[in-house]
Amino acid sequence: MAADMYYAKPGPITPIALAGQRIAVWAGAQWEAFRIKYLEPLPRGSPLVFDLGPIIALQDSNPTQLANLVMSTDPPELAQFRFYPIDDVEVNLRRGQSDQRFKTMNLVARSDVFTRRVDPCLHTTEFVVLKNDAPWLVHHNPTAYNITISRTAFFGFRFILDDLKIAHPTVTEMERALSPITFVAAGGL
């Protein structure tokens, strides 16, 4: 059981936890605890495809807020997504305009059309959106040609949460308080 209690699991996407189970969400400087009240899938389809429009050769799109992926604040909601670019672009994902996800010390990883070759289930692209934390996208055109369309598709799950009003700065403290619990990163570190 403990081995299952993390997110971004390899294989087809599964919910981070089930109704009644607890999750701890990293949303900046601490882990915040919630209990899942309800969940439902968000299937891939045109409402979850976002086109950032034309991009000239070797340039980036403007950072674009995906307002339609924002979740409810009251009651608190969380969404779990995986994503992939449909067109030949590289995708830089951010929480807010400046909190870039998928970083090493010196660079930010981007998902591109080759990601699905090494990761067909896209688990390395998994991220969550907590309440009104809008995800932002930047598309990079890696080609020497201008492109007229640059789309990224998302799919995943939606969760309605109970806020347990408990927060701890470390995993150890949170596990001591509320184990078993699934740890999920909503923001970068």
Binding site: V49, I86, I149
Partner: protein, 120 residues
């Protein structure tokens, strides 16, 4: 790039409604908003008395039409077919039109049908 699913366009006569006159682009397939497609097959029957050159591209009027792939010579009184091995893997991002070098004398003199792979 995403691998999509295949659809066939309607069979389209390029002199739609029997209008005889200057060649104008004819809608071959309406992509719809947010979708793109790759051409996998072109099937043309040219029932006219002369060969025609068929261009396939985007743009609803002769003034705005821009070909997306090299023109195809469609030989008279022959079915002219091109499979994906003979077609560039061009991504169509807008409705697909055909522009013949001459208007057909009768509505179904030149018949065109496309097979497309839709993605997105």
């Amino acid at each position: 790039m995403e691998r999509g699913f295949r659809v066939a366009s309607p069979r389209v006569g390029i002199a739609v409604g029997g209008v005889i006159g200057a060649a104008i682009p004819t809608l071959l397939y309406a992509l719809g908003t947010g979708r793109t497609a790759h051409l996998k097959k072109i099937t043309v029957y040219n029932g006219q008395i002369a060969d025609i050159i068929l261009q396939i591209g985007a743009g609803a009027t002769a003034a705005t039409f821009a070909p997306s792939i090299p023109a195809r010579r469609c030989i008279t009184v022959l079915d002219n077919n091109w499979d994906e091995d003979e077609l560039p893997n061009h991504k169509f991002v807008a409705d697909i039109y055909g522009l013949p070098s001459a208007a057909a004398a009768f509505p179904n003199d030149v018949q065109v049908q496309l097979e497309l792979e839709i993605d997105g």
